[in-house]
């Protein structure tokens, strides 16, 4: 009892402390004068600037970041894989690796063009089909100091991990062939347009001034909502009487650690330069993940009596999700506040609301990525401060309630489009090809039935 109240008191103290200091910081001068443009902020158009030479440091950092984000997809595979039953381990790894293979090809052929070519407010068109015109000169509207192709390959890794996140909701029951078709369709018709709205030149949410530093709306809300839709369309797994214990929790921890590691590329890399803004995003990312992991452990401690390993990694991932849109716009107390907030909300969703509503989101892709993403996007409207990033905006806590409204609109647009679009795509694939594995195949396990392999042997 004494220990519980101590923990609670510490949490509350930290929360109030972070709110307090934020108001304080508002008056201070900008900590970092952003020299490069971030991909997500309204383009304060820079007409007729003389071409900037390629910056070696920036290019190196963005390439390393791209590689870091690439590692997140196999990391996710182990995170999810550890949580399923052992008869489905390979199916998860395979779905993640398939996302890496399929979306990489889709991206260089036409995905990048659909998302980033300066088209209309809704999509980019086919102007950069096959990377035609995407060369080694910088493209100043996105990143002025690195080769255009470096920006392209960095963005490719985001396009890959987003559909892979959805796997968590339909794990253990989707037919592999239908998954591949879904993968191409969803990337093309859902991810690419939304990426254009938020990041592309001319995108309507970008023009509206929505803040999304590294892809909270594009990646996490988008994938999270699609995850909920997929869980509803596919229905529950067969013979689920009680929650299934993870078959290999150490794998899940390894995966979560790789996600945390890769997330530095995801968020700090989104500064698209090796500068103070990247450092600020890096620090915010680590801080929010740590605070969220801690909060989740405390919640576990208070509600079920013991802090759990699965709880800590779930909290860490939720924190990483929530800090994604905010990373380049909030200071360290904003990051702490977001970390606490997201764990509180996601814990409530995963532990109480999900069981009440009864949908089978196998690995909580919606509960963590969807809800965490929404918390992050809204919290950006609360905690953002131009003291961190002069090209950003102030949030509600810094006297700008309008930003909260803009964030809510961005969330609403993404949510509505993904909800409807994903539902149509899932239904379409279901009608034409059938989404679910045959009942017998699901019972045997997707490893043997979909891939004719097994992850583990019993003898030798």
């Amino acid at each position: 009892m004494y220990r519980k109240s101590l923990i609670l008191a510490t949490t509350l103290l930290l929360l109030s402390f972070s709110a307090f200091t934020m108001a304080d910081d508002a008056a201070k001068a900008p900590l970092i004068a952003a020299t490069t443009q971030t991909a997500s902020v309204t383009a304060t158009a820079q007409p007729a600037v003389p071409p900037v030479p390629i910056n070696a440091g920036d290019t190196a950092w963005v390439l390393v970041s791209a590689a870091l984000v690439m590692l997140m997809t196999p990391g996710l595979a182990f995170f999810y894989g550890g949580l399923v039953r052992k008869k489905n381990m390979l199916s998860i790894l395979m779905q993640c690796m398939a996302a890496l293979a399929v979306v990489s090809v889709q991206w260089v052929l036409f995905g990048y063009s659909l998302a980033f070519h300066p088209g209309n407010g809704f999509w980019g068109g086919f102007g950069w089909f096959g990377l035609k015109g995407v060369g080694f000169e910088p493209y100043a509207d996105y990143a002025g100091t690195i080769p255009h192709q470096a920006f392209m390959i960095f963005q490719a890794m985001f396009a890959i991990i987003t559909p892979a996140l959805i796997i968590g909701a339909f794990a253990e029951r989707m037919k592999f062939s239908s998954y591949l078709i879904f993968l191409v369709l969803w990337s093309t018709f859902i991810y690419d347009p939304i990426a254009h709205w938020v990041w592309g030149v001319g995108g309507f949410l970008k023009n509206m001034g929505a803040l999304d530093f590294a892809g909270g709306t594009v990646v996490h809300i988008n994938a999270g909502i699609a995850a909920l839709v997929s869980a509803l369309v596919l229905g529950k797994r067969k013979g689920l009487s009680s929650p299934i214990p993870p078959h290999n929790l150490p794998f899940a921890v390894l995966g979560a650690a790789l996600l945390w590691f890769g997330w530095f590329g995801f968020n700090a890399g989104s500064a698209l330069a090796a500068n103070g803004l990247a450092v600020s995003a890096f620090v915010a990312t680590n801080t929010a993940a740590a605070m969220a992991a801690l909060t989740w452990a405390v919640l576990d401690w208070m509600t079920v009596g013991k802090p759990t390993m699965l709880g800590v990694i779930t909290g860490a991932v939720a924190g990483l999700v929530a800090i994604t849109p905010a990373a380049g716009f909030v200071d360290v107390f904003g990051a702490l506040g977001i970390g606490i907030l997201v764990s509180l909300v996601c814990y409530f969703m995963v532990a109480f609301v999900k069981s009440k509503l009864g949908y089978d989101d196998s690995l909580d892709a919606f509960g963590v990525h969807g809800i965490g993403g929404i918390v992050g996007a809204i919290a950006t409207g609360l905690f953002a401060t131009t003291a961190v990033n002069s090209t950003g905006a102030n949030g509600l806590f810094y006297g700008n309630p309008k930003q909260l409204l803009i964030q809510a609109i961005a969330v609403g647009c993404t949510l509505a489009y993904t909800l409807v679009g994903s539902f149509v795509l899932f239904k379409l694939v279901d009608l034409v090809f059938g989404l679910r594995a045959k009942e017998k195949d699901e019972v045997i396990g997707l490893d043997l039935s979909q891939h004719h392999e097994s992850a583990y042997t019993l003898i030798e």
Binding site: K87, G239, I444, L458
Partner: protein, 113 residues
């Protein structure tokens, strides 16, 4: 006293357990085993090489019971494990000579339950 050995499908374990609890059989030992009957196993492929007739995962239950519990136990296992497909498994009933509880040294009838 009989020893009942049942080989069942892994996914049926939970149902079998629930059926056993219903007839008050609360003690059992579970093994993960490999085997196949008429199902003839399954084909796996590694780097293009087919391996046919690989053994399938099964669950093996061992339950020691007093004579009046034999029928209820068998019925419960049948109830929980049957899907009607090949591969549902088998039940073996063996005579059991003795049973001892290690903690107390009790023997026979009283040691089982």
């Amino acid at each position: 006293m009989k020893l009942i050995i049942a080989i069942i499908q892994p996914q049926k374990l939970e149902e079998v357990k629930q059926e056993l609890y219903k007839v008050d059989v609360n003690l059992l030992t579970v093994n993960e085993v490999l085997g196949h009957g008429r199902q003839k196993g399954i084909t796996e492929v590694y780097r293009g090489v087919r391996e046919s007739g690989n053994l399938l995962r099964k669950i093996r239950l061992e339950i020691g019971v007093n004579d009046n519990y034999v029928e209820p136990t068998i019925n419960a296992i049948m109830q929980g494990a049957r899907s009607g497909e090949t591969g549902d498994g088998k039940i073996f009933v063996l005579p059991m000579e003795e049973c001892l509880r290690i903690r107390t040294g009790e023997k026979g009838k009283t040691a089982i339950g």
